[in-house]
């Protein structure tokens, strides 16, 4: 079983090579090849889940091969409870995205090979336990994203792609400085690039001098790492790239971006920033909580102001990821569990929303709730597209946190977690939920109720393919809303270990 991570990581690359070698005209063969690859990956990740030992917080399925021996860089993979969930989410969403991308006609070969490359790099980020390897995957991930947004995106795609690229690169280059500093702080030894070996507050007493001023090593590099991860999440005020990227990106890429790429940011906090710099993290938890709170409220208000439904959902992502940051800043068992659960649940519910918007866009070729000229973009969808409306309702209510659906549990856990530590912030954050309900319901009212807009008369309801790929997500948000323990059990040990570690500082 030890090689299974290798298979999951490299299978998409094998698929990519197969796609590249396929003759250009055979679009359907390319689509099928991608589908086969992503489904095998999905099956493997389910297998991984079944074999996963939930009782231990230790890394499982570890693969460790020396890569650059001189620098003690290893090809070092492994997963724990947190990454188990992310692995599954990644495999699931790429499978779904392959199906949803069936209608892509422009440069099919390039599109699917980039999609597969993206999947592999995202797996790499979650599996890598070696800092160098982690950084390589973290950066390489930008390349397929850049091209996917830039070539298959909307009108303003070039600007969005470059902004996304530069913004993320800016954050990660500081992370690189931090990684190298850690390498030397641990004395260039065999474990100097080992992420796990750095954990546990080993750098509390070190200092650094920058431009002639002394700083605590912990704090300065915590903030370096923070910058890299916060841009990815994105936390206010680093969120400005997100709406552009989302609005311009093709549907499948939006799904991946919101569904798994944003989680890489919060994953970075969980795996790197918090455990390696625990003291700085604990001391900065108020700042993190406040930034999370601003993201929640500000993101929600921004969402409310949007006339473009995709932009609305994009801003709602900012708001929902703010909840994850709040949960993380609590550093309590409930808060952390809630945060990780929210990472998963946001992945499924936002993916639903983006997919649904994509389905609608294929019919209407616009995304306006209210067109710029003041007329309604849609209206009365519920009478014309019943299946679509049903699925939309499930996705929307999961997103706004209706009890019984997945979003509720994770948000409730987060509030439970932070209430003791930041009471005021909790109370304000609850308002964020309210605004969330408001903008979603208002959007729903304007699009689905009211007079039937003549423009939507000839829209078809969801076809079999669309129903088929929405189904797993519908099941996920309902099942995990009622019965979240399969997820909570997996992460319990790993999150528990992190909470124990943070409690010491």
């Amino acid at each position: 079983m030890n090689g299974i991570l290798n298979w999951i990581l490299w299978l998409p690359i094998i698929g990519m090579v197969a796609v590249i070698l396929t003759p250009k005209a055979k679009d359907n063969v390319i689509r099928l090849l991608t589908l086969v690859t992503t489904s095998i990956t999905l099956v493997l990740s389910v297998l991984l889940y079944l074999k996963f030992d939930t009782t231990t917080a230790a890394m499982q399925f570890v693969v460790k091969v020396p890569w650059i021996e001189q620098f003690h860089i290893n090809y070092f993979l492994g997963i724990d409870g947190i990454t188990m969930l992310m692995t599954f989410l990644n495999a699931l969403l790429f499978f779904i995205c392959t199906l949803s991308s069936w209608t892509v006609e422009k440069n099919v070969k390039a599109y699917f090979s980039l999609l597969l490359m993206l999947q592999s790099t995202v797996f790499g980020v979650f599996f890598a336990l070696d800092f160098f390897l982690f950084y390589v995957y973290w950066e390489v991930m930008l390349l397929p994203m850049f091209f996917l947004i830039g070539i298959w995106g909307g009108e303003n795609r070039e600007y969005a792609a470059i902004k996304f690229f530069l913004y993320t690169f800016f954050g990660s280059i500081f992370m690189l400085v931090g990684i190298i500093a850690l390498y030397y702080a641990t004395g260039k030894g065999p474990d100097s690039f080992n992420i796990l070996a750095h954990q546990g507050g080993k750098f509390i007493n070190e200092t650094v001098t920058i431009f002639g001023h002394n700083f605590s090593f912990e704090h300065i590099f915590f903030w370096f790492m923070f910058l890299g991860f916060a841009i990815k999440v994105p936390v206010f005020p680093f969120h400005t790239w997100l709406p552009h990227a989302h609005v311009q990106a093709p549907t499948a890429v939006s799904v991946i971006l919101a569904g798994v790429l944003l989680k890489m940011g919060t994953y970075g906090f969980l795996r790197i920033a918090f455990p390696i710099f625990p003291q700085a993290a604990v001391q900065s938890s108020t700042i993190i909580a406040v930034l999370g709170l601003i993201s929640v409220i500000y993101g929600a208000f921004c969402a409310m102001a949007q006339d473009d439904v995709k932009k609305l959902v994009a801003y709602s992502s900012v708001s929902h990821m703010g909840f994850v940051m709040l949960g993380l800043s609590a550093m309590t068992t409930q808060g952390m569990n809630g945060a990780v659960l929210q990472m998963f649940n946001h992945g499924t519910s936002t993916a639903m929303m983006f997919l649904l918007i994509g389905i609608l866009y294929e019919r209407s070729h616009h995304r306006w709730i209210m067109k710029p000229d003041g007329s309604k973009g849609y209206g009365g969808l519920s009478t014309k597209l019943p299946k679509y409306t049903t699925v939309f309702i499930i996705g929307m209510f999961a997103s706004l946190g209706l009890p019984g659906l997945s979003g509720f549990i994770s948000e409730a856990l987060i509030f439970l977690g932070i209430y003791q530590k930041f009471t005021t912030i909790t109370i304000i954050a609850v308002v964020g939920l309210l605004i969330g309900a408001a903008y979603l319901l208002w959007m729903f009212k304007r699009m689905f109720f009211g007079e039937v807009n003549p423009e939507i008369e000839d829209y078809d309801d969801m076809n079999a393919r669309e129903v088929f790929y929405m189904l797993p997500l519908c099941i996920a948000v309902i099942v995990f809303g009622i019965f979240p323990s399969p997820l909570l059990n997996v992460m319990k040990a790993s999150v528990g270990q992190l909470v124990d570690l943070m409690a010491k500082f």
């Binding site: 650059i68 850049f146 091209f147 830039g150 470059i162 530069l166 280059i173 001098t209």
Partner: protein
């Protein structure tokens, strides 16, 4: 005596071969009657001989250092490695000159002669072990460079380039010579070994004089590798010169100048505390300024040649951070960077050259929609641009990573942050070009000529190391590491 001379010469075979090559080329050129056919043969001959030189250099790579010709020349693995990079760069430029329309047909073999001449100067500079050899190296390198930059004789911009290059070059060489004369006065010798032995005994004013003289001397080298504030000539010269010449300038003189800078810094500035501190301070400031000026100015360029010129300034700024730390790992990082940079630069100039031959200009527009015309070339060019920006999995990232890591090892976080921000700036203009190639729509008629199978094969061949060294870079790091052991 004679025996000793032959003993020396056996170590000096690569240079000797190059001199013979240059003279035979000169003779061959003057006897040519049939234009095109025999010019191809001449270039083939030059490339073959350079390949032999390369073989000799590789066999020298493992040897312990030898000082020959009364200590005037050092043959050590460090200089040999630099020479290898320069020879490969020269071969690349000569090969490019053959197909480039920028070099007029009747000047093609002349280009080879000049290039080999500059190469000889560069080899001398890389091996210099006393001030006189060093100066000779700089001058040999420079004088032929002036001629090369005005190769397009009937074009004003090219003539202007040659003129600018010569004026700036003459001035800075003069200043450098002035510095050398002061050093001779203060230290009583031109031999590096004897000079450095004198250093510890110096006090107060004489130490200050030595430092000032070194700064004057530094003007000469700083000009050659276009460090701020001696970089002003670079964009105009790069733009005015034909593309093969520009590609050549971006590699050979730069590597030679860097080699001299490294040797001087390592020999003279790790002994005396005061000198070390002031030199390191100076280098940090110059490095920060060089990369910032290079990268920021590159943003606004519309000519790709000019963009590459400014970006090369940025890269050199980053490279000399390896000198700042004054230790073996720093030099190792520069060597690795130099090797990788050579491949990336050659590819970038190759593709630019072929496109500019096709369309008669080197603006961004000729790159528009390249992906639809030459997918493979467009992907390689994009990969090279990302590599230049320091994105993994390409070797440019490893080069940058090494420089960052030596700087951070010395806890110079401030300059590391400046370098980090510069990386982002450089990514911007590289991505802008990549964007034009890949997102832009190809307008006008699609021209497919230009990239002959031969050209494509060479470009792909040059690209393999860019990719390979990004993933399996240990071997080259070991070679570079071994090369720097004897440098002091």
């Amino acid at each position: 005596m004679i025996q000793q001379l032959f003993g020396y010469l056996s170590l000096y075979i690569p240079e000797v071969i190059c001199v013979i090559l240059m003279t035979t080329l000169l003779v061959a050129e003057s006897t040519v009657k049939d234009e095109n056919a025999s010019r191809g043969k001449i270039i083939g001959y030059a490339l073959a001989v350079l390949l032999v030189t390369l073989g000799f250099l590789f066999s020298n790579l493992g040897e312990a250092p030898e000082h020959i010709f009364h200590n005037a020349i050092t043959i050590d693995p460090f200089s040999t490695l630099i020479k290898i990079v320069m020879v490969v760069g020269t071969m690349g430029a000569i090969f490019l000159s053959y197909s480039s329309k920028d070099i007029y047909p009747n000047l093609k073999s002349e280009f080879s002669i000049m290039a080999v001449g500059v190469l000889i100067g560069g080899m001398l500079l890389a091996s210099a072990n006393n001030m006189l050899t060093l100066y000779l190296g700089i001058e040999t390198l420079s004088i032929l460079s002036y001629v090369m930059s005005s190769f397009k004789r009937d074009e004003a911009s090219s003539t202007e380039a040659g003129m600018k290059y010569a004026l700036y070059g003459g001035l800075s060489a003069g200043v450098a010579l002035y510095g050398i004369s002061h050093l001779y006065g203060a230290l009583g010798s031109i031999q590096f070994v004897e000079m450095v032995a004198k250093l510890p005994s110096l006090q107060g004013t004489s130490l200050a004089i030595v430092l000032v003289s070194f700064v004057l001397f530094f003007v000469g080298i700083g000009y050659k590798i276009s460090l701020f504030p001696f970089h002003m000539w670079t964009p105009d010269v790069y733009q005015g010169s034909p593309i093969p010449v520009t590609a050549f300038f971006a590699i050979v003189p730069k590597m030679a100048g860097l080699a001299a800078l490294i040797r001087i810094s390592m020999i003279f500035f790790s002994e005396v505390q005061v000198l070390t501190v002031s030199w390191v301070g100076l280098m940090i400031v110059i490095s920060a300024m060089t990369m910032t000026v290079g990268n920021v100015t590159a943003i606004g360029q519309n000519s790709v040649k000019r963009l590459l010129a400014f970006s090369s300034i940025g890269h050199v700024g980053l490279m000399i951070l390896g000198v700042v730390v004054l230790n073996d790992v720093g030099i190792r990082a520069i060597l690795f960077y130099g090797i990788v940079y050579m491949f990336m630069t050659l590819i970038a100039f190759y593709i630019t050259s072929h496109l500019s031959d096709m369309y008669g200009t080197d603006s961004y527009d000729v790159f528009r929609g390249l992906i639809y015309k030459h997918p493979v070339m467009a992907i390689i060019m994009a990969a090279v641009l990302f590599s230049l920006a320091g994105m993994p999995p390409f070797s440019g990232f490893i080069a940058k990573f090494n420089i960052f890591s030596v700087v951070i090892e010395k806890k110079l976080y401030g300059i590391a942050i400046v370098a980090a921000i510069n990386s982002v700036i450089s990514l911007y203009y590289y991505v802008k070009l990549a964007k034009t190639m890949i997102f832009g729509q190809a307008d006008g008629e699609v021209k497919v000529a230009g990239f002959t199978p031969m050209n494509q094969a060479v470009i792909i061949g040059l690209f393999i190391p860019v990719l390979f060294l990004g993933i399996f870079w240990e071997k080259v790091m070991v070679i570079s590491g071994n090369a720097v052991i004897y440098i002091k």
